[in-house]
């Protein structure tokens, strides 16, 4: 363990503590974003570049945008009343310390040798036509998880939309940003780079770190940036095209899953000779849908009428 590792851990814990105890909500969110970006580095050290990409894009990026957006709306109510009694704070601190120590002890006392599924995944990789084991797990061995994850994201979006007041049902989500030359400049610089990086991550995901979710997150972040620059406005959520874009991934994925009954004898099974093209098709549909859904989740509930 070297000095850099130690410095990273200290910074991580300071950022985490700051996100928890900072006085204002804005400061807390800043701490959380720093924490998310440092966690991406931790994931690299833990040998998981796919997770690092996802954590940087979602933990540091999209969640940050979402929480900052909420800070603006909640400004009046979130700075007031931050008073728990001292005794409750001490009790809470002791309880948290107990939880952390218990978890740490449980972690250190795990049996050796550690079990794992790495061997099984490696021995079955050839059948998938993929070279990145993480993508193979996500889209073949544990395809159920990924399909249900897509459904959870969709349900969350339905939930967010349902919080709209009756009068604004099916309206446009979020606030209308005014044209801001600085943000426009940022969007103009970052969008071309982001699109290239996103498509690269999508394509390389079959054989190297990357994949559908990482690409979708980058596209969603670019879209959030473009709306914040005031260059584009989210479509009303009642539009058919929005609904289709949002469900396309889950529909294509379940459709190919059901077809698996006929051509490979099980739900979500692929015929070996067509495994890779089918996986690419699912990934393309998933990328489109996840990008739309994540972007709309950041935009929030419908808050305006259907007019721009």
């Amino acid at each position: 363990m070297n000095v850099l590792t130690l410095a990273l851990a200290i910074l991580l814990l300071i950022a985490g503590a700051w996100a928890v105890v900072a006085r204002s909500a804005f400061a807390a969110v800043s701490g959380f974003i720093v924490c998310g970006l440092l966690l991406a580095v931790v994931w690299l050290i833990l040998g998981a570049p796919d997770v690092a990409l996802t954590e940087a894009a979602i933990g540091g990026g999209l969640t940050g945008a979402l929480l900052f957006g909420a800070c603006g709306v909640l400004q009046d109510s979130s700075t007031v009343r931050n008073s728990r009694s001292v005794s409750l704070r001490i009790a809470g601190a002791l309880l948290s310390l107990l939880v952390a120590c218990g978890l740490g002890a449980a972690f250190l006392l795990l049996p050796e040798p550690a079990p794992g599924l790495g061997g099984e995944v490696r021995s079955s990789m050839a059948a998938t036509g993929l070279e990145n084991p993480v993508t193979a797990v996500l889209l073949t061995f544990r395809a159920w998880d990924t399909l249900l994850e897509k459904v959870v994201v969709l349900l969350a979006l339905v939930g967010v939309w349902s919080f709209a007041p009756d009068s604004l049902w099916a309206g446009r989500p979020g606030v209308r940003y005014r044209l801001d030359p600085h943000v426009i400049f940022l969007a103009q610089v970052l969008c071309p780079i982001g699109i290239v990086v996103g498509v690269y991550l999508f394509w390389v995901g079959a054989s190297a770190p990357g994949g559908a979710f990482q690409c979708a997150t980058i596209f969603a972040a670019l879209w959030v940036l473009v709306t914040m620059a005031g260059l584009a406005d989210p479509l009303p959520v009642g539009r058919l095209v929005v609904r289709i874009a949002v469900v396309a991934g889950a529909v294509v994925f379940s459709g190919i899953g059901v077809a698996g009954f006929f051509w490979a004898g099980a739900f979500l099974a692929y015929p070996v000779e067509f495994a890779k093209p089918l996986i690419l098709l699912i990934e393309a549909a998933l990328t489109l849908s996840v990008a739309f859904t994540l972007g709309l989740l950041v935009a929030g509930s419908p808050a305006r009428g259907e007019e721009p």
Partner: protein, 103 residues
């Protein structure tokens, strides 16, 4: 202590920090942020546990990594849902200060 064990303990510390925030913060929005810190800690502990398998000579184990990627996306969705709920609550409080909600 190896870097993996060290970061596993850091994850446990993050869980403790997030848990503390969940208890002592009053405003729901601050509880959401604290809960996200807690969740990140859980992911790191899980990642460190998965990495132990690699140290034990099993090679890279992609299953926990895939689970964490799924977990991060789901955590984000849950956060978005919670934030939308808190925003709506704030809106209700603004529109009808001091009275019961009528919707």
């Amino acid at each position: 202590m190896s870097a993996v064990e060290f970061f596993g303990l850091c994850g446990a510390a993050l869980v403790g920090l997030g848990f503390y925030g969940l208890i002592v913060q009053v405003h729901p929005f601050r509880k959401i942020v604290a809960f996200n810190v807690l969740g990140s800690g859980v992911f790191v502990v899980f990642g460190a546990i998965a990495r132990r398998g690699v140290m034990g000579g099993d090679g890279a184990d992609p299953v926990p990594q895939a689970l964490v990627i799924t977990g991060i996306v789901v955590a984000f969705s849950a956060t978005a849902l919670a934030v939308a709920l808190v925003k709506r609550l704030a809106r209700e409080e603004q529109e009808t200060p001091g009275t019961e909600e009528d919707e």
